[in-house]
Amino acid sequence: MKVEWMKERRLKISTTVGRVKEIGIFIRDSLGFDHISTVSGVDWIAQNQLEVIYFIGSSTPGQEDFIMALSERIPRENPVAPSMVDVWRGVEYPERETHEMFGINFQGHPNQSHLFLPEDWNDLPPLRKDYVSPGR
């Protein structure tokens, strides 16, 4: 696990798939980060890894300006990560979006059907770096 400051009041916790849920519950219950902002994914094609980042804000008075970034890296082949829906209910749609755009399988997610892409999308997940937009 690595903890670093992105800047003042922005803390990034990089952890592994096995511990991400445990840390999520800790920062929600003990540190008061209960207000999910967004979920981002990154394709690190050179390192052959995918990254999922949860950006979590807080509704606790005094730390509304604080954003916690909880990140995990998984291999590009067969990417599986635990779903955080039972930690923060609000991550359901963002995780669904990350699933369709990066092909990450969130285990325990209630519904991973396509949200933005057509139902019959039959190509690489579009935000992966090896997917090239038509005409490029």
Binding site: K7, S37, V42, F55, R89, S133
Partner: protein, 372 residues
Amino acid sequence: MTEESEYFPDPDRIMSVSLGPQHPGAAHFRLRLWLDGDYVIRTEPDAGYVHRGEEKMAEYRNYIQNVPHLERPVILDSSNILFPYALGVDELMSNKVPPRGQYLRVIMSEANRIISNMYFISIQGLFLGHTTMITWGMGDRDLWIDFAERVGGARVTFAYIIPGGVRNDIPEFAIDKGLKTCDWFDKRMDEYEKIFFNNPMVHQRSDGVGVLSREDAIAFGATGTVARASGVRVDVRKDEPYSSYEDFEFKTPFLTQGDSWARTYVALLDMREAVKIIRQALKKLPPGPVRLKLGPQPRVPAGEVYSRTEAARGEMSYHIISDGSPRPYRVKIGVPSNKNLRALPHLIKNVHVADIPIIFNSLNFWPVENDR
């Protein structure tokens, strides 16, 4: 209303219906409804009809080329979707935006907040059968569009807030026009309160309809008008002042009812604060340059940034990763419509079909912004 736990529908009675994507209210967006008579027992949103892959497009263009297309998802609120992008790129490049540029960013952002909220309230008037609100509202919204046109040179998509500052200085006559519009608008907002918000018909139709509790608003990650109507006091302008917001006196309005009426009324209260901010900013506009000279292809050092601002609908955030090349490695747009959509299946449940347009529109939802 029946609680979900004590409700056992007969499967033969359940009918599944699509609302949209051609429905005039829910444009570019479909709601799948499961009905028992005219009673909604389950809703599932179906987005994606206007998905344009803005995030992928951003990876093919350099930091300046990204400006005009990133504002397209939400043309009603086009300055506010560019604001966090500009802040993020400024942070990566360690740009110090001149004070006049910071003030002009605030002015344009607040003018856009009014333009967007006016549209929202007017359409809510339309859905409630209140013709006066839509005609008055759209008419007065045009005054702010006129003001924005005098500042930014275009009526809807200004591409005004750019990395390094703003695109051009404000002309002298636009300052007078802005102050006059502020005075006129203050009077009009009192009239909206009388004719629309305190109207018994509007109260009857929207009081207690689609109540979102404070706990649910936090758990779903709702933001902006939706969260503030439920008693969650979130406002990035106050929590984490950016671009000289600490110089202005304003409040964060919030209500506790959490119903459709409160979600609409909070938008009006937001506009009152926006007018206050614009007036202060126009009066004490500092002299000096409005932008830094960055060139057509600025060099952005490698790094990762998460920037956020308060847009008309709520917290707008960007996650930008630069690998040192002329183009961003990753741009993630966290849009408020997407954050508020999470509460929709929860709200449109155990309600009558006639309440759907009111609840749906009170979320201040913009399908194009949600899809990106």
